[in-house]
Amino acid sequence: MEIGRVVGSRDHADYQVQIYGPGEMPVPPTALDRALGQFVSIPVDEIERLIGVIYSTQLVNPEFGTLGPRLSTTQELPVFTPDYLAETATLVGVTILGSARQQGGKTVYDQRTPPLAAAIDAPVLLLAPDEFLAFHQGESGPSLAYFPRLLARPFPALPDLLCSIVDRLIAAFPSDRARLMVVRQNILWNAIVEAH
């Protein structure tokens, strides 16, 4: 499911994505579709897709703070100035965690920073649950090779983001619960105890 499009980037692995609003898609994305921790994919070309995760949400509203008089009321805006209405937007931050590449009829997942970057207006799609599992499948159990890079990012919601990923992995890899719990407890310790 397509939830938005790339509108900008802060660096090679950090994109700003505008979530589709009402009328832009037959079925507009719900609040859950653009929630913190949702995994997404961004096609680069026919072979390669970037895989990332939503790490923040930013609401853009140019009207906020504009104290001057308006010709129309809020209710009349869609009728008289629909283009002005479109200036409000929901932006999400997506950090790239790896890539998926079509190779010999199979999809090969990689958790390293991909060398290719997405283009402006590239569509952003929700990652299906089976792809989420396939992306995290290591040689023996789950793989979180992107975690150290993610930990280096200054995201305010990072501990909760990491915990949500680990929780999903615990559900997906029950036999690896013990070592995933070690990771989860360390995230919480660093976020709660060492933060004080």
Partner: protein, 595 residues
Amino acid sequence: MATAEGLAPLENTPPVGTTKGPGEVPHEYVFISPDHEQRLRIGEFVYYIAPTDPCARPIYGRIVGRRPVRLYPDEFMADPRVPPQEVARLFGYTGDGELFEIAVRTLGYFDDRLRAFINPRISPRVGWPIYLASNAMLSSILNKCRPGEIGAVHVGSLLSRDPGEVPIILSGRDFTSTHLAIIASTGAGKSYLAAVIVEELMKPHNRACVLIVDPHAEYDTLSQMTRHPAFAGSDGYTPVVRVLRPSDLHVRFSALRIADLRHLIDMTDRMEYVLGQAYQSLSRRRKEQAGLDGQWTHEDLIREIQKFAAQRKAEDDGLDFRSSAGALEWRIEQLMRDAQILHPTSHLDLRSLFQPGQCTILQLDEVDRREQQVVVAVLLRRLYQARQETERKRVHPGSELYLPYPAFVLLEEAHHFAPAGEGERRVVSAEILRTILAEGRKFGVGVGLISQRPGKLDQDVLSQCMTQIMLRIVNPIDQTNVAASVEGASRDVLDELPALSKGQAVIVGQSVNAPVIVAVRERHTPHGGQDQDAPQRWVEYSNPERAAERARDVAPLARPSQNDPFAYPQRPQSPRVGAHSFEELFGPDEEDGRR
């Protein structure tokens, strides 16, 4: 890996690490290694080859420290069931993780001509590969002797290698002339190791002349050497083992010096004066008459004392020493009655004690400590004198003091015979021990000191032992004393002492080319110094069969007294065996009114 010519290993083995740079002290360097196989233990030997050395000689060193420089974070070890490697693998890390900085003390290259290590006095350059020394290399560089050679004393194998891979062979030639010290806490295996050394000395390739002073009677199992095939020579040689009990030991009265007599007899100052005068006069006269072999009995000395007292009374000053003389006479006679070892005329023949191919064990377990000290003092004095006189060709083969071969004396509980501090002046054996340790090598008298309390052993004596074998020492005071007295023991070697297990020893000094940590080999003969298993003995005592045996043993003695109720309380018996109570036998006690 550096590929410069000259850096190749001698035996095509991959390097174990890469030099990082100089260490904290000038003769140390450090290298970095992942040490996947956990082979770089403390005490292990490594080498590098300097590309600048045209001879490409391996420069050996001994690992003295090991410090992790890269470890998994503590957080990875939060759950004991989950290894940190597993957590690291989650994050995509599949390597081995840990890296170690290994500190090495440089020994140097081994000079075959000098049979010693020559320190290059410079650290290896950064990046030079470090190799683990092979078993064959270590066998040839650590030992001064080859197995089975004359003087070879095989005590065990290098602890850091598998048992038997690198045998450690002490040079018997060195420690039997420049002395040996075996130091350890109780139960660490001192007497076991000493017996291993004696076994080696008595093998056909050595045929040594050994005397063991055994205050705890724990070496008599060595007598099994006479029947053991390991000691049989192709020429029919088997060692002779003589175990001497206190009743077999006789020290002739005239062998005692004035200091020995002072040590054995409690005297006033006046008595000491009288004894000194009489002793000097008697010994001078006898020497003039018979030379070195001059003898006298205690009765001769008593007569001399009486004579001296009478003379002084008759002289002008008229001092009366007769009461002191009388007291001395009584004390000397008392000494001759009480002392087990003193004899008016009979004496141990030196050549019956000391023979090549013979191990003499002097069991002194039933002898009073002061008498033990006198026995050792007299024996060592005679041995030293005999060797001196024989080497200087002052005695003929028929003389009592003729001993034409070197001898080695092993002294258990050496701190009793050469105690440290104030005790040293009061113990008669200390002076001769110090003399032998300082001068004995010239005359072929070697001493092996065994002690569990190096702190109580005279430090001069200990420091004269040029081969030191240290087993586990836990007491920090004893460790400090060892550090102060043992020249070859560097701090890193001493740090090993508390960590050693039973049967493991650090050997430093002249009998090995470099300090080594050894796993002592198994004895050929059974060990006699084992502790009592008290709980086992108690359980055995309560065994019904044993109880019945004991009852049978006492029955014949108890039977005649069946009709004599007064006989029972005279024998200590358990309540079960003794059928009658005190009141049954004697009636109630009248005195305390309980009738």
